[in-house]
């Protein structure tokens, strides 16, 4: 059976006009249709926040739960019912502040969840407080004199938790978004997709450097497994390895040729260079990496749980309650 985006659409989204969540939702509908899993076999599970409203606009099974717990709830759903395709949707506050513990453990366990992190670097629903991804010195309603703390970078947290899949996209970039969503679905195990999403009301322009086509042409690099890490309007720049780090070079200048430019390896077990890619920022003179940065096969928790059930089942002689009772020291009173 084939599906269209329409088959996954429901209701009228209530986000502010211009909110990045609208753009992302449209891409998700499209990606779902292209993936082709029947809506009744999909569960979309979110926490609380503007972004967590998303399941209401999906014609699939869904849960809009409590703040920060989406990953935990999704874990139970996937482990109990591995036939479901489970998407977990969170904002940066939901997923990394109150839900930070669940986020790292879902990654560590490698549960087959498609985790979406809509990162607007602000708390939208509670009207404009700084979030764990807001930069140091950020002025917000709860930090009128600037924050005095450093932000998390989602990729680093995911890698630190031994995550096996990390991708990044920009909410307004439909093509790039659909592509990474499909890759996230294809990946068996926990996947984290960071979506750079603009909050027009409380943190407008937060991702300006890459939010429109022009910006992306200048400041983003689309990474693709097996392809050269080149970028720029005419692919005139490339990434080369220098010492323990990366370096931007202009191809054909300073003696650098296309042969010096690195080929992206998303499947490489060792995450060192992938992390370097994921951490690049324009402030440091690098482009922002978009696309699938890490995608490594590893045993998934849900499969392992069920494999162990089957294995133990084959070994043990008891398989139901009545047989279980008989494994005890029993005596008879006549």
């Amino acid at each position: 059976m084939s599906y269209t985006a329409q088959d996954f659409k429901k209701g009228q989204p209530r986000w502010c006009p211009g909110c990045g969540d609208h753009f992302f939702l449209a891409s998700l509908h499209k990606a779902m249709a292209e993936i082709g899993v029947a809506p009744e076999n999909v569960a979309v599970i979110s926490g609380i926040g503007c972004s967590s409203r998303l399941p209401h606009y999906m014609a699939t099974y869904g849960m809009n739960t409590i703040h920060g717990r989406a990953a935990a709830i999704a874990t139970g759903a996937k482990v109990a019912n591995p036939d479901l395709t489970v998407w977990q949707v969170s904002g940066d506050g939901d997923g990394l502040a109150i839900g930070g513990n669940h986020f790292i453990h879902a990654n560590r366990r490698n549960i087959d969840l498609n985790m979406i992190l809509l990162n607007n670097r602000i708390y939208g629903l509670t009207k404009g407080q700084y979030s764990p991804t807001s930069p140091r010195g950020f002025v917000s309603k709860s930090s009128p004199y600037g924050t005095v703390e450093d932000p998390f970078r989602p990729a680093e947290l995911c890698f630190g938790a031994r995550g096996h899949f990390f991708a990044r996209c920009v909410a307004t970039d439909a093509k790039g978004t659909v592509e990474v969503l499909k890759a996230a679905y294809e990946h068996k195990g926990a996947s984290v997709t960071e979506v750079l999403q603009n909050c027009v009301i409380f943190n407008d322009h937060c991702h300006d450097v890459v939010y429109n086509n022009e910006g992306r042409k200048k400041n983003a690099i689309y990474v693709k497994h097996g392809e050269k890490l080149v970028f720029g309007e005419n692919n005139e720049f490339g990434l080369v390895q220098q010492g323990f780090g990366l370096k931007v070079v202009e191809i054909g200048k300073d003696g650098y040729t296309i042969d010096d430019v690195l080929v992206h390896d998303a499947h490489c077990e060792d995450n060192t260079l992938q992390l370097k890619l994921a951490m690049m920022t324009p402030e440091d003179g690098f482009p922002i990496a978009l696309g699938v940065i890490r995608d490594v096969e590893a045993p998934t928790y849900d499969e392992a749980v069920h494999a162990q059930l089957a294995e133990v089942s084959a070994q043990k002689k008891y398989h139901n309650f009545t047989e279980l009772l008989e494994t005890n020291d029993i005596w008879e009173v006549r």
């Binding site: 869904g62 739960t65 874990t75 139970g76 759903a77 059930l309 009772l325 005596w331 006549r334």
Partner: protein, 615 residues
């Protein structure tokens, strides 16, 4: 048996095995109780283990006790004080003697009463018996350690392994004292150590040595007792702790409902054994996930229920605080979930290994918003099975989270469990949305009894979204409409009120009692024994006991207002009494409240109730 031996027949007897945490007192006590149950005696056991698990050997804080009560007929409690105290070292004698009745027989290992041991136990002199005021005539003092070593000298076992058998020597002595058939004990051990026959035989040898020692040296001085069997309920039995019974109840309920059992849990004393037990039974399809915290334990169980399993989460007091938010989510999403709270003592981490009934109000009301949730409390170790089973049945049939309260006392205590026949257990029928509602169904549409239908993901045509935000009762869309919220609040309340629970039963002088004793959960046995004693003294007393706390049994008001005097006795500051006052107009009971982290003492209950009767 020697001719000069007098065998006294007793109605009941209490033995307390005590020693260092590693001395195997629980095993000795368990074997003794199981062997007694095999001949049809009533049994009840209670382990009292130290909070400080790594206390130094021989120290006062490292003593662990295991009390066994056996009776000719049914026994309801592990007993207030013991008739026989086994003290494997000086510290055990020092700390456990207060649990001995005046005149109790004391069994000690004199090898553990050297100067160093006495110092560790803070005895001032070498006359430890004198210091404790114990009459030497009541003491069976023997060099157990040495005798065990001698007995196993040619077994090829190393010193450490031999010393591990000391508990069996004590058990042998106790078996002699109670005229127990050692063949039964030997059979038990051979089965238990089927894979290690050498260990079984070594243990049996030591038990025999203990028995012989008692027989040879003490038979003229100390009486041998026998507890005969009065009433027997025929059937096949096993020894079961409350936590194990709870786990079994969950497994049975899931199987009966045709669902997968999913436990999401985070370790905490005294609930952890439920996680341990369920984790063993993967061959029965049980999924256990040891989560990163209690929040996740509860949340993931709820996710599992959404996905079509029976979601269960287990914890103790502090963990319940963390679970509250997800429990509330289950209330508003109207999904099945069973939350087990094995209550322990004190606020915060309080008394982790001790028992209280202090989470009742938290279970009933400890959540934001109007959040009605069924609450049950198990009344004995074996009742944990039925309580767990019924909790699952209510959760699944009424689409609601249910709190099941047990506590350290029933969770760790054990009793003889008559093997249930799963085909005879109550049917469990979740309200799956009928196929003919396809196209018309909305997520908060209700069946006749007010229960929301369950549409498990995977069913075509029933895709829907649930959530923590209030929903329109008709469409299921998010709604902040005031009238709708009022209506939904009432519908959720009505659904819980509609749940059928058994009526209260009244025991004792139901017709004309001058005092009705009321309690809930694990204190059932103690209150029952107190009633028995008062009636034996000639008073007219009745007892009723709550296992279902929300909704309350329909006859609650009728029962509570029928008697001249009512006393509510509980191990808290009056949570049940206050709740009943709120629910029953004009109900003003007497109260007996004790919060010591220890089970009630029947004698103290009797005294307190007698005073009320005399008022």
């Amino acid at each position: 048996m020697a001719e000069n031996l007098e065998v006294k027949v007793l109605d009941q007897v209490v033995v307390r095995f005590s020693g260092d945490s590693g001395d195997g007192m629980q095993l000795a006590g368990n074997i003794f109780s199981t062997v007694s149950a095999t001949v049809g005696n009533g049994i009840s056991t209670f382990p009292d283990y130290p909070a400080d698990i790594r206390a130094p050997q021989g120290s006062l804080t490292g003593v662990s006790g295991f009390q066994v009560h056996i009776g000719a007929g049914k026994v309801y409690t592990p007993g207030d004080k013991c008739d026989v105290l086994v003290a494997m070292n000086a510290a055990a004698l020092k700390t456990q003697y207060r649990y001995a009745k005046p005149g109790a027989t004391i069994i000690i290992d004199t090898d553990s009463f050297g100067p160093k041991d006495l110092e560790k136990a803070q005895f001032a002199t070498e006359d430890y018996l004198g210091e404790m005021g114990i009459d030497a005539d009541r003491v069976v003092a023997c060099p157990m350690t040495q005798m065990v070593k001698d007995c196993l000298a040619d077994s090829g076992m190393d010193n450490k392994a031999m010393l591990k058998c000391r508990n069996m020597f004590a058990l042998g002595l106790v078996c002699w004292l109670f005229d127990r058939d050692l063949n039964l004990v030997a059979n038990f051990l051979r089965e238990k150590f089927a894979k290690k026959p050498a260990i079984a035989e070594a243990n049996i040898k030591v038990i025999q040595a203990g028995w012989d020692y008692g027989h040879n040296t003490h038979s003229s001085a100390i009486n041998v007792y026998r507890v005969e069997t009065k009433e027997k309920t025929p059937g096949r039995y096993m020894d079961i702790t409350g936590n194990k019974a709870t786990a079994y109840g969950f497994i049975a309920a899931a199987e009966k409902a045709g669902l997968k059992l999913y436990l999401g849990s985070y370790p905490i004393t005294p609930a952890t054994d439920v996680l341990h037990e369920l984790s063993k039974h993967k061959s029965c399809g049980v999924i256990t996930v040891q989560c990163e915290d209690e929040i996740s334990g509860c949340a993931s169980a709820l996710g599992a229920s959404f996905a079509g399993a029976l979601g269960v989460t287990s914890t103790s007091g502090p963990g319940i605080c963390l679970k509250s938010e997800a429990m509330n989510l289950a209330v508003i999403m109207e999904l099945p979930l069973v939350v087990l709270d094995v209550q322990r003592g004190g606020p915060a981490t309080g008394l982790p290994t001790k028992s209280e009934q202090t989470d009742l109000l938290q279970a009933l009301f400890g959540r934001n918003g109007e959040s009605p949730m069924p609450v049950m409390a198990a009344t004995s170790p074996t009742d944990c099975f039925d309580a767990a089973y019924q909790a699952c049945k209510i959760a699944l049939e009424h689409m609601t989270p249910v709190v099941l309260l047990t506590d350290a006392f029933v969770a760790n205590g054990s009793g003889a469990f008559k093997l249930p026949d799963i085909t005879k257990l109550d049917a469990i029928n979740p309200p799956y949305v009928p196929e003919e509602l396809k196209g018309k169904w909305t997520p908060y549409m209700r069946a006749e009894n007010g229960t929301r239908y369950w549409a498990v993901p995977g069913r075509e045509g029933f895709a829907h979204i649930l959530g923590g935000l209030e929903k329109d009762s008709n469409t299921g869309a998010i709604s902040t409409n005031p009238e709708n919220h009022d209506l939904m609040t009432r519908l959720r309340q009505q659904k819980i009120d509609n749940i059928q629970v058994p009526d209260l039963e009244v025991g004792g002088d139901a017709e004309d009692a001058d005092l009705l004793i009321v309690g809930f959960g694990s204190t059932y046995g103690h209150l029952h024994s107190a009633m028995d004693e008062l009636r034996q003294k000639g008073y007219k007393v009745a007892q009723t006991h709550f296992k279902y706390l929300n909704p309350l049994p329909k006859n609650t008001a009728a029962v509570l207002t029928k008697y001249k005097k009512v006393v509510v006795a509980e191990q808290n500051m009056g949570q049940l009494a206050g709740y009943l006052r709120m629910k029953v107009d004009g109900f003003v009971p007497y109260q007996f409240n004790q919060v010591k982290g220890q089970p009630f003492v029947v004698e103290e209950l009797v005294n307190a109730f007698e005073e009320i009767l005399k008022k």
